[in-house]
């Protein structure tokens, strides 16, 4: 898993001497730097986007950095990379949740202890199945008792397309623990 320190991107790559992610131009500059780093990933790699050194984030910047990054990622070929968000605090979450809801997007937040949480616009069914995959470590569409395999496959594929899960052979797996 590749770690991208967003604070470092802000100050070094984007060359902006701030600790807060505010304003659209700042967000756009940071996103472009992150996208450059993501482009260097190998097929199917997972990038850990680390917000630990970011103070606050406003709505405009959350739209530029988070929403547009996810939209661009979803538009790429199926073999492109995945993103896990790390170091997200309540100070970031308010803006992130608003923009995710606005665009109908969702993302995975990974905690330092390895726990994970799905944030954003997902149905109760999608959330339940995503949590099942994270709890089990791996799930196939036809190995869940009490659920129709076709329906399971539909939801798992939807989560896969949204890059909230990934393939592990014929099964579906979490995006991976923090290394």
């Amino acid at each position: 898993m590749t770690r991208i320190d967003v604070g470092s991107v802000l100050r070094n790559s984007a060359n902006l001497p701030f600790s807060d992610l505010v304003t659209r131009p700042t967000g756009a500059a940071v996103r472009r730097c992150i996208q450059t780093e993501l482009a260097a990933l190998s097929e199917g790699d997972v990038a850990l986007l680390d917000f630990s050194h970011i103070g606050m984030m406003d709505y405009s910047c959350a739209d530029e950095v988070v929403a547009k990054l996810l939209i661009a990622l979803a538009g790429q070929d199926a073999h492109a990379g995945y993103i896990v968000f790390h170091g997200i605090t309540d100070a970031h979450l308010e803006a992130i949740e608003v923009v995710l809801d606005h665009h109908g997007l969702a993302l995975v937040v990974q905690f330092a202890d390895g726990g994970a949480r799905l944030v954003g616009s997902v149905s109760d069914e999608e959330r339940a199945i995503w949590e099942m995959v994270y709890a089990r470590g791996s799930v196939a569409a036809d190995d869940v008792a009490g659920r129709e395999p076709a329906e399971m496959a539909r939801i798992l594929e939807s989560l896969l397309r949204r890059r909230l899960l990934r393939h592990n052979g014929v099964t579906y797996a979490p995006l991976g623990p923090v290394q």
């Binding site: 807060d20 505010v22 304003t23 984030m57 406003d58 709505y59 309540d90 308010e94 923009v99």
Partner: protein
């Protein structure tokens, strides 16, 4: 011809209309004296709107400062004269402002012209606002972050839409007129730019309706989240501001051109929409966040 414009003794977002009403009776290039000698109180809106007014005059206006020593001292501490001396011909002596660190103002009058200015405003406000919001307004800690976000988005409207620089100021004070002495924090952001109507027109974002004026433009942008940019992610700043104001039972008012709309909490009796006001360029926004009711004895 020289025109004397009298500044009311108490200058806020509503009484500032009397200043604009007086100006509207004279041509834009008339020589103006702005007479604030009898002013004894001014909100952040009043101070930033006066600077904005100066920006709109074809000929540099004269300015007569308040005679009350406490008032003129406060205006100096608020950073008003630092910019007024550039924009007006200020008559008479005004006190030198003390350093920002000694000020009792949350954020002095601060120019906003570019994106970096917004970063500066946000960094300066966070530490000062936290103490006031928690200890004076008795709000939860998450209100602090939302406050900085709200301030950031309000300032960005200038950078993104105004087409010229504007002003921001933040102050906390006892609001005796409306809230029986409860504390409030007030954000004022004023610019003399193109205003909401022209901004939406420039992006071909006028709503499909027969009526089109400043009030409709304000409603489209502030209430419905329409932006001059076609980008579907736009419009979330004002939406976020509305959400923050609603959550903390605050008040939001936005004036542009000849109209003003307000989101009004239960503690205020303002009207939601005013039309046919004296024309004033740009956009003038005010956010008032009150002390939490349950914390008042």
């Amino acid at each position: 011809m020289t025109v004397v414009i009298a500044v009311p003794s108490s200058l806020d977002d509503l009484t500032f209309e009397s200043v604009l009403d007086q100006l509207a009776q004279h041509p834009a290039d008339a020589k103006v004296i702005v007479d604030a000698r009898h002013a004894t109180f001014a909100t952040p809106y009043g101070l930033t709107a006066l600077l904005t007014l100066a920006q709109t005059r074809a000929e540099k206006a004269e300015f007569l400062p308040p005679e009350n020593p406490d008032t003129v001292s406060y205006w100096a501490r608020a950073g008003f004269f630092r910019y007024a001396e550039e924009l007006f011909d200020v008559r008479g002596h005004v006190p030198r402002p003390r350093s920002a660190g000694e000020s009792d103002v949350l954020l002095e009058v601060t120019p906003v012209t570019k994106s970096d200015d917004v970063h500066g405003v946000v960094e300066r406000i966070q530490e000062r606002a936290a103490s006031i919001l928690l200890n004076k307004l008795h709000l939860e800690s998450r209100a602090t972050m939302g406050f900085a976000m709200t301030l950031s988005e309000a300032c960005q409207n200038i950078v993104e839409h105004a087409g010229r620089g504007g002003w921001v100021m933040v102050q906390a004070y006892n609001y005796r007129r409306r809230l029986g002495g409860r504390f409030v924090v007030v954000i004022a952001v004023c610019d003399a730019g193109v205003g909401f109507r022209s901004s939406l027109e420039s992006g071909q974002r006028r709503p499909l309706s027969d009526r089109w004026d400043d009030a409709v433009a304000l409603e489209a942008a502030v209430v419905n989240g329409v932006s001059r940019y076609g980008d579907p992610g736009r419009g979330q700043g004002l939406k976020g501001i509305r959400g923050y104001v609603h959550r903390w039972e605050g008040k939001l008012s936005v004036r542009s051109g000849t109209a003003r709309i307000a989101l009004i909490p239960s503690w205020d009796d303002d009207v939601p929409r005013r039309e046919g006001l004296a024309f004033f360029p740009g956009a003038q926004l005010q956010i008032t966040i009150p002390e939490k009711v349950s914390a008042v004895a």
